[in-house]
Symmetry: C2
């Protein structure tokens, strides 16, 4: 029996999205808890102690309420995290629209990276492109900047996805390496190389990675993440420009 439109017990959720609920006038402005306060507290925990420290119980404790209280505002932990991500995106500085498409995209990329670096847990939870009010502001800005250059809609999307894809992947590497560094308490790149040496040297001594080993000996600037990011970003932007004749 195909799950035919059960007239009552339908298959899906209440179907009012988190974002829609959020913007409805708060029925009672007299409450101690708000979605905003919840998001804020959760983000604070994640920033300070990592995403794993964000627990419904811990969150409740920080807010001074019972563990289940937050469930009046989010349907579960997944929605809590969506809320946190949207909260962080809400702080993206999108103020100045810049002039050319390239400057706009570049600024967008740089700000996105800064956001991820300020809240490293976001790289584990965000997709480069997803649907929440503040996340949608990103493609909105990009599309507006790219309009009027003769690109059709699909190509515009491809350009957007290329840039944000690069940003996301690139910053994921960066954040992961940072976390590794911090976990072991290595301060600079030099210490990192020393700390990594034991595990690394075994692999290198297998002789299976000659080209990579050569890199390890020759590299000098590998501790400058800004340079790495911006160099890659400029490659991506240049590629887009030449590829689409912008």
């Amino acid at each position: 029996m195909s799950t035919q439109q059960a007239p009552s017990g339908d298959s899906d959720k209440p179907q009012v999205s988190l974002w829609e609920r959020l913007e409805r006038p708060a029925p009672a402005p007299r409450t101690t808890l708000t979605a905003h306060r919840i998001a804020e507290a959760a983000v604070a925990i994640a920033d300070a102690e990592g995403l794993d420290a964000v627990t419904m119980r811990r969150l409740a404790a920080d807010l001074g309420v019972a563990p289940m209280a937050a469930y009046r505002y989010v349907s579960g932990k997944d929605e809590l995290i969506e809320l946190m991500v949207d909260f962080v995106y809400g702080q993206l500085p999108l103020g100045a629209p810049a002039e050319g498409w390239r400057d706009t995209m570049r600024a967008l990329a740089v700000h996105l990276r800064a956001m991820h670096l300020a809240h490293p847990w976001t790289v584990r939870t965000t997709t480069p492109f997803s649907l929440s009010p503040n996340q949608l502001a990103v493609p909105e800005r990009a599309f507006a900047a790219l309009a009027g250059h003769g690109l059709d809609a699909d190509t515009t999307m491809a350009v957007f996805r290329t840039v944000t894809g690069y940003v996301h992947g690139s910053v994921t590497t960066e954040v992961t390496l940072d976390a590794l560094r911090r976990k072991h308490g290595w301060s600079d790149g030099h210490q990192t190389r020393i700390g990594l040496a034991p595990q690394m040297s075994f692999l290198m001594n297998t002789g299976r990675y000659p080209a990579y080993q050569r890199y390890l000996h020759e590299a000098t600037r590998k501790d400058d993440p800004d340079w790495q990011f911006e160099t890659g970003l400029d490659c991506v932007l240049t590629g887009i420009a030449t590829h689409f004749g912008l």
Copy 2:
């Protein structure tokens, strides 16, 4: 103060890396469990039911052993996941070295994407660049292909990171969208748009996303992920070529 060899309670782990242990001759070939069998079983679970279904208990059940048995091979769940990821990278087809740097990098990117699409859970656990034997084979291949073009080591790394960053970020978007589709049982892009409509239309009706809304009306090819990926990839490669005069 150099952390002087604390004679007893030293600060770090036993300090023999997973990979080193793995390659030491299996002391007793008579065992029912091996790291390989564990990785294989865990990957099978993740492929079939998602990463969340991979549980020490579930894994043990599938292997026909007690829940704690796997802990003789991995130090905890984190190492299990490292093992899984390395296992998957071990299946990357790195066979033919191709001729030019561009073809090599392009093939690498395409194969990496295929790998992530075949094991979607990897995008949540992998960083575009990390240290395990089979993961290291990727930069090794790339560095070998890029050698001899007059690029210094740092630039080579930047190129590598740019490409893998793009691949990782791009495929993360793709996998996430796929998961969303599958979760709701939407088969094609058309159904997806219909299913997404309720949640989407609220956001669109706010009037805050005019440029994005225009895209939604005009786009026609947005369901072709291959085209999107390869277009972006070609942009990235072209950008690298022009930027570094390759």
